[in-house]
């Protein structure tokens, strides 16, 4: 575990949640998350609060982002926020990005599975992120079983289309180990240098790290856990890749500038 103790560790995919049955931050869970992160040697947690099902309204979205902001204020040295948005409400989504980035001090945008990344409805969001120079973290995966459970879940092919149209966008494929055919997405994304992936997810198949490293390189990999701390840690420790590149993945220098912004 020395790798985690001796190096700066930025976890680019974590969540805070509402208290069950409310629209308020689950403070106790948030504090436990930070405590655990500290115990295992994580320095920064980049958090969002997405709504997975249905079609969240602008009002729903604001409550999510307000809860994230509360978590940021509660743990300003540890929690950085991503603004969750629903591209289906274009004007409100653009306003919410402005509010979250410029007023609340968040450092990027989180998109879920409401639309494919390549859907034209997402274009104004992508353009806004380019203007603000902020990354977009996408809930992603290529489900091979029960894909109808998430019919608009983006995978590597969708991100490749976006990257082709917007080479200046910073696209972050969420959880390459989040379930689904990770080889599919890696093959689809490999040739697009503005697509990155975080390594989170509960899947810790052998070779997932080595294959990601081979196809995308450490420069395009970011440490993350998305609720699966042991898997995230195990993948990094178990991967047969050079230590200097593991250190790079733990705190990817290409994403450092985002961390320097936002709420202090």
């Amino acid at each position: 575990m020395d790798l985690f103790k001796k190096n700066k560790v930025v976890n680019w995919h974590e969540h805070v949640w509402f208290k069950p049955g409310t629209r308020e931050l689950n403070v106790e869970q948030c504090d436990q998350l930070v405590q655990y992160a500290s115990e295992v040697g994580m320095d920064i947690l980049v958090c969002s609060l997405p709504i997975a099902g249905g079609m969240p309204t602008p009002e729903d979205i604001k409550l999510c982002n307000d809860a994230v902001y509360q978590a940021m204020k509660r743990h300003p040295k540890v929690i950085k926020g991503l603004a969750f948005i629903n591209p289906g409400y274009t004007r409100e989504a653009l306003d919410e990005i402005d509010r979250c980035i410029n007023e609340l001090g968040m450092i990027g945008v989180k998109l879920y599975n409401h639309y494919f990344a390549s859907d034209p409805v997402v274009r104004p969001i992508i353009e806004k992120c380019i203007d603000l120079d902020i990354p977009m973290l996408w809930h992603a995966g290529k489900l091979t079983v029960n894909p109808e459970s998430q019919p608009f879940l983006s995978n590597g092919e969708h991100f490749a289309k976006v990257a082709q149209a917007y080479p200046e966008a910073v696209i972050l494929h969420g959880h390459i180990g989040g379930g689904g055919d990770w080889q599919w997405s890696l093959k689809a994304m490999a040739d697009y240098p503005n697509i990155f992936t975080d390594i989170s997810g509960s899947v810790h198949d052998t070779r997932i790290m080595e294959t990601t490293y081979k196809m995308m390189g450490a420069d395009r990999m970011l440490f993350a856990t998305d609720g699966s701390f042991a898997s995230g840690i195990g993948k990094i420790l178990g991967a047969d890749i050079p230590e200097e590149d593991k250190i790079k993945i733990l705190n990817n220098p290409r994403f450092e500038r985002y961390l320097e912004r936002g709420m202090k």
Binding site: Q32, Y36, V145, T206, F229, A230, S231, G234, G238
Partner: protein, 261 residues
């Protein structure tokens, strides 16, 4: 000491897996400090006649003293295929296998099938524990030719009372949920029900709470090597706040006792 309950040799047909020979597995065990491992042959799952896979396993382990000392062979039996009874007895009595491993979702039968029940009871009579891996790979990424089902708590629940003396080891699934559902049924049985923690995370005390609820006497270490990184399992033990005594039970003592090593 560490004994791993869930490892494989053989070919996994759906993605490239390295280190899938006895030698490769031993190398992985050495890298991670694992002393002994229960091992079955992936080929047996996919051969029509699974027994050929068991014979391969016995032959390969028998080829080297270190393999024999450190790899504990488990027989995969398909109780719907002709000769299954004879194969099982041969595996235990002649090939020295120490456990039985079943793949009902791959071989397409219910655990309550009369042949399966008979096999499970035969295992109990011979003091042979039965390993039930809920899955091999995560269900969300299954190849189009792979099974689309996992072993569920419900399927195990149905068979527990039919085989009251059989020792079960349930691994590589949502064992916390399964253990919760089987808690009442597991009581007052002669046979044990042990669980691994392969898919339980350490965050929010999940691992520690699992050990507390199931009891350290009923938890074993399983990695799914060489298909999964073993370090994930070590991270849970490393950061856990359970006692060293409980960790020792989980890492080897429970399996040592069950397998009479």
């Amino acid at each position: 000491m560490i004994i791993d309950v869930n490892t494989y040799i053989g070919h996994w047909p759906f993605r490239q897996v390295l280190d899938s020979t006895p030698e490769g597995l031993i190398n992985l065990m050495d890298k991670s400090g694992i002393d002994m491992a229960c091992v079955s042959n992936l080929n047996a799952i996919f051969y029509r006649n699974v027994q050929d896979g068991n014979e391969e396993l016995a032959y390969q382990i028998g080829a080297d003293k270190e393999f024999k000392d450190r790899l504990i062979p488990f027989a995969i039996i398909n109780p719907l295929y002709p000769g299954w009874k004879k194969d099982f007895i041969h595996c235990i009595d002649d090939l020295g296998m120490k456990g039985l491993e079943l793949y009902p979702t791959y071989h397409q039968y219910n655990l309550t099938h009369e042949n399966a029940v008979e096999l499970l009871n035969m295992a109990a009579e011979r003091g042979i524990p039965v390993h039930l891996p809920c899955a091999i790979e995560n269900i969300r990424q299954r190849h189009w030719m792979d099974t689309k089902e996992d072993i569920t708590a419900e399927s195990v629940a149905q068979v527990l009372s039919l085989c009251p003396n059989t020792d079960f080891i349930i691994t590589n699934g949502p064992t916390s949920t399964i253990a919760g559902k089987l808690a009442t049924l597991s009581k007052n049985r002669q046979g044990k029900v042990l669980y691994d923690f392969c898919r339980i995370d350490l965050l929010y005390f999940n691992f520690d709470n699992f050990v507390k609820s199931v009891g350290a006497d009923n938890v074993v270490f399983g990695s799914v090597m060489p298909l999964q990184y073993v370090d994930t399992q070590f991270a849970k033990l490393y950061f856990s706040k359970i006692s060293n005594e409980d960790k020792e039970k989980i890492m080897y003592k429970n399996l040592k006792e069950l397998l009479k090593l």
